[in-house]
Amino acid sequence: MDTSERIAVHPILGVPEKGRQVQFTYNGKTMSGCEGEPVAMALKAAGVMVHRYTKKRHEPRGIFCAIGRCTDCVMVVDGVPNIRTCVTPLAEGMDVRTQDGVTPLAGDKADKEEADGTI
């Protein structure tokens, strides 16, 4: 959790106020972040850069505007596509998946099953 992406103490703002640590899954993999912070921030802190692949060119996209306007950071969250992760608060147990076009990235399902021990 204490990765280099998180600011421990800021010269002006001091110690950032954050929610309690919660676990969520990213493409089936368990990760942790701070409750209530945008999903995108928890992912960024964990080093995840790619949120989705585009429909036409299959190019990677990630955080761009960070305020819910540009929609580059959309992912499939709890099964619903096009969720703006930069303005969606992280909650315990969220299922976050890379979006490919408008569906979860293929192969994730297998990954998840593997993680769950169902294969």
Partner: protein, 527 residues
Amino acid sequence: MERYDLVIIGAGPAGLSAAIEAARCGMNIAVYDENKRPGGQLFKQIHKFFGSKEHHAKERGFHIGEELLAEADRLGVDVSLDTVVTGLYPGNEVMIKKGGQVSHVRGDTVLLAAGASENMAPFDGWTLPGVIGAGAAQTMMNLHGIRPGSRVLMLGSGNVGLVVSYQLLQAGCEVAAVVDAAPKIGGYGVHAAKLARCGVPFQLSSTIVRAKGGDHVEGAVIGRMDEHGKIIPGSETEIDCDTICIAVGLSPMNQLARMSGCRMEQNPKKGGCVPVCNEYGETSVRGLFAAGDAEGIEEASSAMIEGRIAGIACANRLGFLEDGKAKEAVESNEQALDTLRQGMFAPKNRGKQIEKTDEGFPVSQHLLVTGFLGDDEVEVYPGVTHPKGLHPVIECTQNIPCNPCQDACPHGCIHIGSFITALPAVEASAECIGCGRCVASCSGQAIFLVNEDIGGGYASVTMPYEFMPLPEKGDIGLACSRDGQAIGEAEVLDVKSVKAFDHTNLLTIRVPAELSGKARFYKAAQQ
């Protein structure tokens, strides 16, 4: 349908200021903001604001936001957060979305204070993860405590680009360079100087040719541009970075205004397409007002005053404030607004080449190109003098509406006069007691306390310092010049952190006497 005397869209500086004025007159107000926290962009602004003391100068943006909120709260203004205004319909009907529900609300007056959106500059690879807007960088580090990257390339040298670059340094990121297509730095010289002395290089007349990387940014190629904006072949250089930040200006948020059917105009001085407004901010649709960036891109300080004017005008329109009082209140606010709109960076001067200050001093061209003043150049300005003993050195060389330093000095060392954009001058006859208030009060971090001879061939330089970790008394490190180059050894004589200085620490270093006019930053020795 729910109906209010005034519906305010946006709880930023303009919206909150309007709400405060209108609430004072007893109006029934609804304020809507789509964010989870009010204050608009103020809560991402961790630097001290410019302007006059009466209008929050030398206060940090987020503190101003807190004050506005507290005031609105005292007056019983209800700010509805996480509430999206989804449309503005005929008859000043506002459709809002809150929770899982939409509702229709009407305002006898409606104020559009929805702020701005960021402009973008496309280049090859600008869609790669790791290319972000400057606003995104601010949101990440100042609201969520997340570093946007470890080494950032900034595109754009306007105030946003400069301020965000500095904030990136404060958050512990490196800034690889500030690149701008223009041949001159667009923002305040003092903001540029803060970066330059931290060693951030400026690359002007240049642009990003492409972002490199597979599925995220792994570097950038920049190139110099000729006068037609074409890249000069062979001028390309690679920059090592993992993040590219775009700060190429703002545009007024205008979707709601356009939806309302009010008359719009393309106004480059206001940053884009804005509603045509009268002096009170009223659009061509009766009862529909606009203020702040939504009415034309300016500083938050102007937005607050515009908001107040609109609030007063709405109160007057509906009979909550009589004509005479309204007129008086609007006039005094207009005067304040007029003051803020003076100087080299005034909206009316956008795009103009300015060679001389109002006082007739040459504008440092060196500053505009490199981000720092030449060692000799600095000598001509009225803030730079060489009396015996301790004295302030003010490296403020452009006409900017800002005057807190004048009042900061209890001994009258600093003089600006009544004209807020005048350059500060150091009064030779006044005596400096070394309190450091001027240093901490300067939003541009352009004031230093210098004693050119503290004995033993040494001089002392006191500078503002807003980084972590804070050096300690007795540390030995490096003195850096205005361009960030190490020029000699420095010993930390004192570190002063006073609550009143609001996180601007005063760092006093001892340097060889010949460096007294050059040493402007301190770097810990490499470990």
